[in-house]
């Protein structure tokens, strides 16, 4: 487990004890892992980092309402089948079902691709935002999650030689069924504490200075305590820090003439008009509402 944590660290993702335990168990037991948490805490990033840490490929399936077997499991190549029929006719041959429904005409979609992958290290299948899909899609997934197999009625059942690592993410906007939860390990990712926020920011935005990283993580922690419609998550904090370092801001300091107002960058942090006002007020309180130049940045 420590080995996995170290490899995740090298892949650029700082995982805490709980998440690394969950991932290690998912890999060791061959069970799917359901990651739940608020939006923007890094669930999708965790799955991508796991793929990099394992040295395997990432297969991604983005869920939406109405996702059906033809987009998730497999699809028959109807055009090719029709062409084969016409070609057989022109040669005056008979064509039977067995000739027409073979693997040659089968188009793989992400889940079947994960099952049939023949690499040494099994791939990581990311089923993203499963709460956006509907009940029918959850029912489709049950066979795959339980036994890592996909049944194509015309051909037969494909079993995975090595079970792929499956990671499902959910924003909890809809309640998932018990049948799905029973087949998966479960981990809740909460927003990290300020020291870990600073460590993650330092890793993801390496060009930012130490002072601005510290003040950004403190400010984001304070903003999350306000009553906002959409509280900013890790992704928004990373975007804002990238914006600040792109503008050459060294510290959240009172404004100097000639420099852009820091409040203009808050669109990375606050996503609705009311939130923008609240965050701007919070920024103005102890700082006098502005930004300061970097030590060696050219004056405009």
């Amino acid at each position: 487990m420590e080995g996995l944590r170290r490899r995740l660290d090298e892949a650029g993702y700082l995982a805490d004890a709980g998440l690394s335990t969950a991932m290690a168990l998912a890999v060791a037991l061959g069970l799917p892992l359901l990651l739940e948490g608020e939006p923007g805490v890094g669930k999708t990033e965790a799955a991508k980092a796991l793929a990099r840490a394992q040295g395997s490929s990432l297969i991604r399936l983005q869920c939406y309402e109405g996702l059906a077997a033809s987009e998730a499991l497999y699809e028959w190549n109807y055009q090719r089948q029709l062409l084969a029929i016409r070609a057989a006719e022109s040669r005056h041959e008979r064509l039977a079902d067995d000739d027409l429904f073979t693997e040659e005409f089968l188009q793989e979609r992400p889940i079947l691709r994960a099952v049939r992958a023949a690499t040494t290290v099994p791939p990581v299948l990311l089923i993203d935002e499963i709460d956006r899909a509907d009940d029918e899609f959850e029912a489709l997934l049950l066979e795959f999650l339980g036994e890592a197999s996909v049944t194509v009625p015309e051909i037969g059942t494909f079993h995975a030689t090595r079970r792929p690592t499956v990671v499902l993410t959910s924003n909890r906007s809809r309640e998932l069924h018990d049948a799905l939860r029973r087949r998966c390990l479960y981990h809740w990712i909460s927003f990290p504490d300020p020291e870990r926020v600073a460590a993650i920011l330092r890793r993801r935005v390496p060009q930012a200075g130490e002072a601005v990283v510290a003040s950004v993580s403190a400010f984001v922690g304070r903003v999350r305590g306000l009553d906002l419609e959409k509280a900013p998550g890790m992704a928004e904090a990373i975007d804002w820090l990238s914006a600040l370092s792109a503008l050459g801001v060294a510290a959240l300091a009172p404004a100097e003439p000639g420099w852009p107002d820091l409040g203009l960058t808050l669109g990375a942090l606050a996503k609705t008009p009311d939130d923008l006002d609240s965050v701007r007020d919070a920024l103005a309180e102890p700082l006098g509402g502005g930004c300061g130049p970097a030590a060696d940045a050219p004056r405009r």
């Binding site: 487990m1 004890a17 709980g18 335990t21 969950a22 290690a24 168990l25 060791a28 037991l29 069970l31 359901l34 739940e36 939406y64 309402e65 109405g66 059906a68 033809s70 028959w76 109807y78 089948q81 029709l82 029929i85 064509l95 079902d97 027409l100 509907d134 029918e136 909890r172 906007s173 809809r174 939860r181 029973r182 087949r183 998966c184 390990l185 479960y186 981990h187 809740w188 009553d227 419609e229 009311d274």
Partner: protein, 400 residues
């Protein structure tokens, strides 16, 4: 290299997992056999070496819902944190010896009085006599405690709402069942076969063409399947709405049972009533709902409750739904806050209906305060103060 010893050596993993699951089940977390199996396999695949890793292994495999995490923490701390089960075999042996040494003293039963347990071979607590109201001067029994009566569902003294007897309930259920036939729907992305649909379903067409020598002689068409819109109901149960609360709770229950509605009650804070009201028997459901709402006599915070709903994980159920708010608009929060909250609710909902029993009074004009701020954002304002008013509510839901 220092070898870190295994935690819990010599412990039967299956029995350990089953016992831990038993404790969790007794605290209300549903743990099934597959979870216990996963936990036991995890203990052998990655044996935990510290208490923290045991915690995470148990949590990831045994708990499958976010709501159960707090209870799991409590059970785990009680078992492994307070030293009730020591993880070190030597300490466990000492514990066992200590338990044998401290034999509990024999108990003499209390005789007489109103204890009611005079003949029992174990001690009973002194029978507290409950009193209602403040203690009288002559009452020197220090053991009596004030009784907390359940909040009475007051009958409808001054307002024309008939008592909700079985006949009225049956009527309400009947209206809703009838309305289900014309429930508002929305297009979903699922396709279903329809002879006059705009899309051609290639798979079924080719499958059907087998019968005609693989010539697609008959095109199978499909269209987008409609889904019923969800109904979300918020009911004000504060003191000013007391005469109507009972009747509205019945309406909420009928909606939950018939139409899978999500229902909430609020006065100073928000309570989700859907699990409490999802019962076939009306009395049981209303009793459970009354027990669930425990803040009925504080000030009303309509804006705060709506904001709490939109910040919670039930915000997604309001999207595209028909939302009903049953309240008289008397809010302790400033009217601008109520206007903003109702506006953000309206932006997510498909339609917003407001039920205000005060609107039935002649000469009612929402010119003041909360009601005036909320009215511009509502699609309809309904009085709903009589049984016929309930029928109008159901009709308003199905009207497009």
């Amino acid at each position: 290299m220092r070898v870190v010893p295994d935690l819990l050596p010599g412990v039967d993993r299956a029995a350990f997992g089953a016992t831990l699951a038993g404790h969790l089940r007794r605290s209300g977390i549903s743990v099934g056999l597959s979870e216990i199996e996963a936990f036991t396999r995890a203990l052998s695949a990655i044996p935990p070496r510290t208490r923290t890793s045991l915690y995470w292994t148990a949590r990831v495999t045994l708990v499958r819902r976010a709501e159960d995490l707090a209870r799991f923490d409590a059970v785990f701390d009680a078992l492994f944190g307070g030293g009730a089960i020591r993880l070190d075999p030597h300490a466990r042996r000492q514990d066992a010896l200590r338990v044998v040494a401290e034999r509990p003293p024999p108990v003499r039963a209390r005789t007489g009085g109103d204890a009611g347990g005079a003949d029992l071979p174990w001690a009973v607590l002194p029978g507290g006599r409950g009193r209602v109201g403040p203690p009288e001067p002559g009452d020197d029994d220090a053991r009596s405690a004030p009784l907390r009566l359940p909040s009475p569902l007051i009958g409808l003294a001054d307002v024309p709402f008939p008592a909700f007897d079985a006949g009225a309930l049956a009527l309400l259920d009947g209206w809703l069942a009838e309305a289900l036939g014309e429930w508002p729907t929305r297009r979903s992305r699922r396709l279903r076969p329809a002879p006059t649909g705009p899309r051609v379903d290639l798979r079924q067409t080719l499958a059907g063409s087998r019968r005609t020598g693989f010539e697609p002689a008959r095109l199978v068409r499909s269209r987008q399947a409609p889904r019923r819109r969800r109904v979300v109901m918020l009911c004000d149960v504060s003191r000013s709405m007391q005469p109507y609360a009972a009747a509205y709770l019945h309406l909420l229950r009928a909606a939950v049972v018939a139409a899978d509605a999500e229902v909430f009650a609020f006065s100073s804070s928000l309570t989700r009533l859907t699990p409490a009201l999802a019962h076939a028997s009306a009395e049981v459901a209303v009793d459970r709902a009354t027990a669930a709402v425990d803040d009925r006599f504080g000030g009303t915070h309509i804006a705060g409750s709506i904001r709490e709903l939109l910040r919670s994980r039930h915000e997604g159920t309001c999207r595209g739904a028909v939302v009903l708010v049953a309240s008289d608009g008397w809010d302790s929060d400033p009217p601008e806050a109520l206007g903003a909250a109702v506006a953000s609710l309206r932006r997510r909902a498909h339609r917003l209906l407001w039920l205000n029993p005060r609107a039935a009074a002649p000469g009612f004009a929402p010119s003041t305060g909360g009601m005036a701020a909320a009215l511009p954002h509502c699609d309809q304002l309904l009085p709903a103060h009589t049984l016929a008013g309930m029928a109008d509510v159901v009709a308003a839901i199905v009207r497009r």
